[in-house]
Symmetry: C2
Amino acid sequence: MYLCVRNTGDQIYNTKYEVDSLYLLIYLLAKIYLQSSNQYLRLEGSLWPIVYPFMYTYLFFSFVFFCSDIEISRGQAPKPIHILAKEIGLLTEEIEIYGQTKAKVRLSLLERLKDQPDGKYVLVAGITPTPLGEGKSTVTIGLVQALTAHLKINSFACLRQPSQGPTFGVKGGAAGGGYSQVIPMEEFNLHLTGDIHAITAANNLLAAAIDARTLHENTQSDKALYNRLVPLVHGERKFSAIQLARMKRLGITKMDPKTLTADEINKFVRLDIDTSTITWQRVVDTNDRFLRKITIGQANTEKGFSRQTQFDIAVASEIMAILALTSSLSDMKERLGKIVIANNTKGQPVTAEDLGVTGALAVLMKDAIKPTLMQTLEGTPVFVHAGPFANIAHGNSSVLADKLALKLVGKEGFVVTEAGFGADIGMEKFFNIKCRASGLIPNVVVLVATVRALKMHGGGPNNKCIFVVGFLSFPIQNLKLVSDGCSNLLKQIQITQQFGVPVVLALNVFRTDSPAEINLVCEIAKQSGAFDAVPCRHWSEGGRGTMELAEAVRKAANQQNNFRYLYDLELPIVEKIRIIAQKIYGAQDIELSPAAQSQINCYTQQGFGNLPICMAKTHLSLSHMPEKKGVPTGFVLPISDVRASIGAGFIYPLVGTMTTMPGLPTRPCFYDIDLDPDTEQVKGLF
Amino acid sequence: MYLCVRNTGDQIYNTKYEVDSLYLLIYLLAKIYLQSSNQYLRLEGSLWPIVYPFMYTYLFFSFVFFCSDIEISRGQAPKPIHILAKEIGLLTEEIEIYGQTKAKVRLSLLERLKDQPDGKYVLVAGITPTPLGEGKSTVTIGLVQALTAHLKINSFACLRQPSQGPTFGVKGGAAGGGYSQVIPMEEFNLHLTGDIHAITAANNLLAAAIDARTLHENTQSDKALYNRLVPLVHGERKFSAIQLARMKRLGITKMDPKTLTADEINKFVRLDIDTSTITWQRVVDTNDRFLRKITIGQANTEKGFSRQTQFDIAVASEIMAILALTSSLSDMKERLGKIVIANNTKGQPVTAEDLGVTGALAVLMKDAIKPTLMQTLEGTPVFVHAGPFANIAHGNSSVLADKLALKLVGKEGFVVTEAGFGADIGMEKFFNIKCRASGLIPNVVVLVATVRALKMHGGGPNNKCIFVVGFLSFPIQNLKLVSDGCSNLLKQIQITQQFGVPVVLALNVFRTDSPAEINLVCEIAKQSGAFDAVPCRHWSEGGRGTMELAEAVRKAANQQNNFRYLYDLELPIVEKIRIIAQKIYGAQDIELSPAAQSQINCYTQQGFGNLPICMAKTHLSLSHMPEKKGVPTGFVLPISDVRASIGAGFIYPLVGTMTTMPGLPTRPCFYDIDLDPDTEQVKGLF
């Protein structure tokens, strides 16, 4: 149990506050004028010449004095990771250093600390997000900075590793921002310790094995297949361990390869994969839209066995979900073996184990299973482990990281983790899938909202450009828009309450929010049943700006906890989907496509009916229609297809059309990303 | 300059020799009987019952007492990598630790040691390989073990990082074997420090950028493209640095985006990629034969702009060649920008720089540029950097690793590096491409041969099964076969001599080779002009088994060196190809396909005519016909196509049909690969 982390946060404020005082003067002048009009302002027509000078002064100072995220990240030298590891009570033999700022933590730690009581478990979730994100990662980091570096309470942040696809595409990185970041942010946002690459390698080895096996079965006799699968080595044929396991599943109890009958050989050598049922896709960690639908196997060497398939973004791989949900190396290996890749021609599931690839997948993933230790800007510990994309995956960081962190912080400490997108998406999966897998019970939910997002939910414009949104469209107090938009906040609070966990609203404050707006949101939240509601200024102030939140979370964690899952696993798949659709999304009902219905029947008949549900749904609305903000009602949720991740352990229905591969825009982020070859510094990551 | 490396090699021999004495007794009994017949023996018919008992005794002891490569690797605890780093004179700030056994070495070291004289530079090459490999990696490691751990001369091995494709496919790993290995071999053979993953990520980001850009150009007006490429940010449009560079190339000198004419905007926004000329392929580090020819872009979102393309194995990426040939971070960035991905519709080259992705590629590769330090079984230092596949790539380790190592060993020290496949393939490229890029001059070539391979070149059977080959087919002395097969050895010695570097034959001895065979090969080699020829027993004895070779190499390194390139860069492309075909492969002439001729004309006209040549040719024969062993003559080399790697800096002609993506066999290596979840040990890697 660690007791202190040296607060290295103070030094970063010095230069910042000097700049701020000048900036604030200009800002206030602009604010006084603008607030006097007290109306929703679009800078058109006659107002333009008046606002112009203010805007430019603001912009000038913003750009001259304000630092970008990567500049802030670079401005703070991270402490050597072995020092941090020592501070939080890790033994030298429990870490594997990766450079100066990252270390993998061995799972043996769980065994050493098994008698240590767990700390408090806090989930950060959000309202339905706007295209800009509401700042869940920054709140998570701000909160642990406040707890550890300022209130001197042990805490740990558990974050997800970002995908390189969006980092080089549209979204940028996911290290937090401003004065609430994981540093060095370029390490966090790039290869990290290679976990996603390992997932890609494992995923694609399995994919290659499927098609190669199909080809070999299609072009060889039973005898030829058998002679190759059980080859003559030193005059003898022997089954490998994985082959004996398959024989057992087939009900063949013989140990000597010579004694198999022709029929048994046929059963043994032929997986008879029905290629039309293959659900295992290849993956890349790149936004490559041209791989959304492809035809493979068109070279002559593949003898005409071409088929249509697709690539997904790597983080959507079932192996990522397995990594997030597994509890140990042996559990991971077992899950990898259980992955169902297709049905055979008799409609029975074919697994990775049947392909003989379980051990190889486990070998490829043996290092990825260890969480990566990094630090916040204020020197507090962070685990980075497993992946994002809560819309098409479960989008939570790993069970193992949370478990290790809960032991490390000790009974009075706090572990803060984040669920992707809105509470309806990431949090629902956190409770029903991740908590079920881990057996852990969360103590508090922190729900993140911003005034500008609530305005959008209240009917404000949808503008993707951050700065223009931040200043030009929303600088003016508009209590009506805010109040209307709080419907979404209210709904997300209600969703959280269904799980019986106290909820604290963290209002991520921007400079453009007025005090009246901030008060209004906090009041509404409290009236809606939130345990507390506090404004947070972590982006501009780091941990100091989140101390009020930290106090509120500490109090909420001592509340009585009536945690419960939303549905019973034993219910039929359709029922479980309906419960989520109605109780979480507010749908009237669900509508299954014939394909979805037939898949559900198939999985139920195969014995997979009692798994939890991982919905693949847009994150931009409570409904399946991204443009419907606020709280849509009266809709029927269309389930277009249903897949199964048997290794990960869930059924995932696809709501409407969900792409599992993002694309690159006309001007991707990479236009601004550069490397200074002399200083080796990265530019343009955000 | 480092002076001592603690020899940790001794302890590994203890158990080994105890086992060996028992084994040798049995082996000698068998040998005495078998050699008495002195004929080429196939175990058929009447001999079978006589040989049977010997064979089984041999097999029994081999299996009971002999260790597999991974068991040997695991039997020796590697010293902590920071200790090794210190021993060889690296400063703490010059290394980045990756776990206990790997470290990346910073390029700043080159600057610190710039006044240090270089050591001797030794290349290990081979005869035309048989499917089993002749042991170049083991000789390389055995040689540095002998030099450093036994003769106390500073030395460094520079090896290539293996591809995971063959590791899980047919070939297994590439860490060496027996008592001449890089340890831990599972670290070496798996993700290492992520370099190949970084190459894959960079390669595929560029590929995704190409297709996305084509789609956006095909579906947007000039104005829409311009507005997106040079977006309005805070009321202003500004060109990014990479865009200004493109403007300059287009001859547009304006700085203000507002002032461009419609014609200039058209020129600026349209790369007008002729998709039929795209030579940039996607890559995966998996043997996935179904990706050899594919159709991409078939989803509705890609609006019908589908096209046929392929995936290559990741190590064949031009970015791997750039990594191997680059001299610094700024040189790498420049090379990445110069990559030509296609022609535009006017026949002009389109580059990565035109796509605005140079900086992002450099950022993805910023860690991969640092060589990885590991160690041999006897604790001597090894750099692992850049990749294999000398048939479809240049197949040499990196210039940077060699340069760093040459400084580290000091004037009297030795750096031993390996070129892939036969001397006609890897060594030719080493001299003409890699040495030209580095400016380094090799002192000695070590040519590796085995008796069993020479027998195959002499007309013996081609048998892929290692043990059956090793014992059943070649146990009997057959001087005629050996002598005939030496034609290939002679030819490879002659090839080496054309470059003016002294050559030492290293005969990798197997237990089944007779003294007469060994002597014969060494005699023929010396008569053919080799400086020396010595048998090596590094596989079974480690560095002790290669001390004679080490002495020979030391003497040869003091010989006069008349190093010269094979061809003048200023010659026309066709002439350079012809020189390689005739002087190296022994071809009568070359024959260009119309496609190849037209590509050569195009590259010459584009100004790329003065680059060196990187032939893509089978490694299994001096000719283009894999089945032709020995020294084929009188053949005409067919050049089916010609490509250009402008960033790497070479033209690569394709000889006949060369696949750039291996496949998985019916029973891939992965059937035997497993992970023990309790001990975390890897099984079945070799």
